[in-house]
Symmetry: C2
Subunit: 453 residues, 2 copies
């Protein structure tokens, strides 16, 4: 009975049986998610969610991160999930074919706050839920996404229900019912990408996971074997390439998805299509001691299609700058770093940056330049008065092949958190999150991030 | 652009353009739905939903019918939707392949109460939403259900969003976005039948429709052409037998689904598999002046498979009695009526009823007895000392072929409403609902049904 095996894994695995490395990666994911949510707090879609929470004015059970506002657990999960995905700056995982942390951290922290869970309990809930996300991702198959579903939310809702079930102390039978109720709420379409509905999906998955767990805890029933048999949710929503749940249930924690493949953390708050190019710019700039005034040209060779999202060659605004290899390269070179401040209209308008931008260009690699089916890379070439410097970049920082170190993680967090909090509060919050496994009550974390309304 | 055409129909059709007959059928549906929800108020699944509303303790914007409890609009829609489907006693519609009214009335009345809509506005919103349910039902096709989805909620959510959009005064563009958000929340699996999740689906559709409309009203965006193009929601969830939305958009109100095929109202609170048999019993009993003491046998001939749900031949409880042709036939004969009171343990245990039950039996019609593909019927035969009486029953009362008259509708309502309210309040409520088109503010209706908490 794989549904029950998955459920037992979630509710019965003792914290002591979760490897320290898994708990550490869970902590990194919570830090990253909390940070990007603070950064996304004032995005229009997040503002709508906060307005909704104000409008329904529910019991103050859990907080909206970076707000003074408190609301009922499901609404906090909803609003924080939306904020965490509002900038599309949150982590991703290939086995889920989506973003594993935004919804789960939002749901888990809302319940965790309500039940005064310890930081260790929260991390365990996240780690177990992430494992469900990865294994269920394979159970639905990559074709699930290709059929039109946004796995981040459609599969994420099961992970959210798992995290909430763990924190609320459901037994395995109750979690099986909760998954039946999660199946009844799974939704999210790729067709909604490019609209506010994409982060809405994440908030919705978080809320639905909370609801499913609460309902099951209170006696609501559903089909408790929703992954199994004819007309199962896998039959109805899965792809032809899906792996049988019976097989996956035997692979729980062997290895943990948090270790292999792990999550990919986004290093810079701009289109992922610029990340390999930026990696090359920073590497050459530092290793070769290049100076902006010496540059004659910067070129970026892309595999066919890989620069499709880079729609702005001459950006007129900060937002457009995020989708410009030319601008981000120039800014990286001039400023030595890329952060939120890089993407203001004023920064994009700087004359010296625009002069440098004009020396940057993209080109498409020709079939002779690469092998068919080769792993993705970008060729970065910088020509100066002194010479020509080339670098082929496969791995952007934050990806499994080039993980971010602790300092880079914390720099990203601070860059994010400062958008919503003053420097001192941001540092205090980071201190709490860094030692999350020793925090006795996670509501301290949310309180540390609370701002005046 | 069919999505926009559907949306314009919902938001732009003036009340004066809705035929009086459609408004009358809308009123019947609201009365029936409100009644079955009052009857379902104390079912375990409804009690969980009410407990949830108490737990999150949101702003008192709308009431739980038959309670004193008030909560935020989406939670009222959720709880009332669950109560309305808790007994599976609510109406159905073949073009939706499900129950069209429970979710829509719950969502519409919650918003209607909040905005102080008139009864006429509420009826118009219901009528337009029902039309969306019927046309979208064809747009997804019957195979949508066969692929595993519970159309009542998966398609119902679009109707709910439509009703809420109408009452909140959204424009067509906003409703298109709301439908994108509804698509992101559509859920409900046939596999959950037989559990509390079935009514949960209905509550969830009502809540999701409210949420979609509110979010779109407040500026949330989604794909505004979610019914159209590659990877549309119809591509992803529809059956091969679906009808193109372009064609259906031209058939709005031509005719109205409320008139053709219309909704099927359930006459008695027991398994639909008993309804044709009961129709025959009542007809023969009255027309032939039969008396219980004269009866030698009552037999019911079913087409193969049509009595599959009648699992209890010798019911030991009131609940089991609902799934027994033998018991319901005996009770109908003895009591001259079937109502909630029929299904108490004490009523089932009556010695005189059990004696009569033993004279009742079912049999399966043999292939020679009917033509392949014939419309469903049940052969009812009563043998008395005086002779043999036969009737072939095609249409149960409340179905399109045998509609209930006003007195039968009201008798059902009173039987339902008395389960939650005293007789005087139930009559006053019925009076309000009967004249709903002249009620200036629908919150009066909910207030009239409010009980002390």
């Amino acid at each position: 009975m794989p549904t029950e095996q998955f459920a037992r894994f979630v509710v019965d695995t003792p914290v002591s049986a979760i490897p320290a490395e898994v708990m550490a990666r869970a902590r990194d994911a919570v830090i990253d998610t909390f940070g990007v949510a603070l950064a996304g707090r004032d995005e229009p879609v997040s503002a709508i969610a906060a307005r909704w929470a104000r409008e329904i004015s529910a019991a103050p059970q859990a907080g909206l991160w970076g707000h003074g506002l408190r609301t009922a657990v499901p609404e906090a999960a909803f609003a924080n999930g939306i904020a965490a995905h509002a900038l599309d700056f949150d982590d991703s995982m290939v086995t889920l074919h989506g973003h594993p942390s935004a919804a789960v951290v939002a749901a888990a922290l809302a319940v965790g706050e309500f039940v005064h869970a310890s930081g260790e309990q929260l991390l365990a809930a996240y780690a177990l839920a992430n494992e469900i996300a990865g294994k269920f991702g394979r159970a639905f198959g990559d074709e699930h996404y290709l059929r039109g579903w946004h796995s981040t939310s459609t599969i994420g809702v099961y992970a959210c229900a798992a995290a909430c079930a763990r924190l609320w102390g459901l037994d395995a039978a109750q979690l099986c019912h909760a998954w039946g109720l999660a199946a009844a709420q799974m939704g999210g379409l790729v067709r909604n990408f490019g609209s506010m509905a994409k982060p809405f999906h994440v908030g919705q998955a978080a809320r639905a996971g909370v609801l499913a767990a609460w309902m099951a805890k209170t006696g609501m029933t559903a089909d408790p074997r929703i992954l199994e048999g004819p007309n199962s949710v896998l039959d109805t929503y899965g792809g032809a390439d899906r792996i049988a749940p019976e097989e996956l249930a035997g692979r729980l924690g062997k290895p943990w998805d948090l270790l292999d493949p792990g999550v990919n953390v986004k290093r810079w708050p701009c289109c992922y299509g610029t990340h390999r190019g930026l990696t090359g710019i920073f590497a050459l700039r530092e290793s070769q001691g290049l100076r902006a005034e010496d540059i004659e040209s910067m070129t970026f060779g892309y595999l066919p299609g890989n620069d499709a999202a880079l729609i702005d060659r001459e950006p007129a605004s900060g937002l457009e700058g995020k989708f410009s290899m030319e601008y981000t390269a120039a800014a990286a070179f001039m400023d030595g770093e890329i952060g939120f401040d890089t993407f203001t209209d004023a920064m994009v308008a700087r004359p010296e940056v625009r002069r440098l931008m004009r020396k940057a260009s993209r080109y498409r690699l020709r079939p002779g330049d690469f092998e068919a089916g080769a792993p993705v890379f970008v060729d970065v070439t910088i020509t100066t008065r002194q010479g020509r410097h080339e670098l082929r970049v496969h791995h952007a920082p934050g990806s499994r092949g080039n993980p971010m170190d602790a300092a880079q993680h914390e720099a990203k967090f601070m860059d994010c958190a400062r958008r919503g909090l003053d420097d001192e509060r941001a540092r205090r919050l980071l201190g709490l999150l860094r030692d999350l496994d020793r925090v006795p009550d996670v509501s301290q974390v949310v309180a540390a991030a609370a701002a005046k309304e």
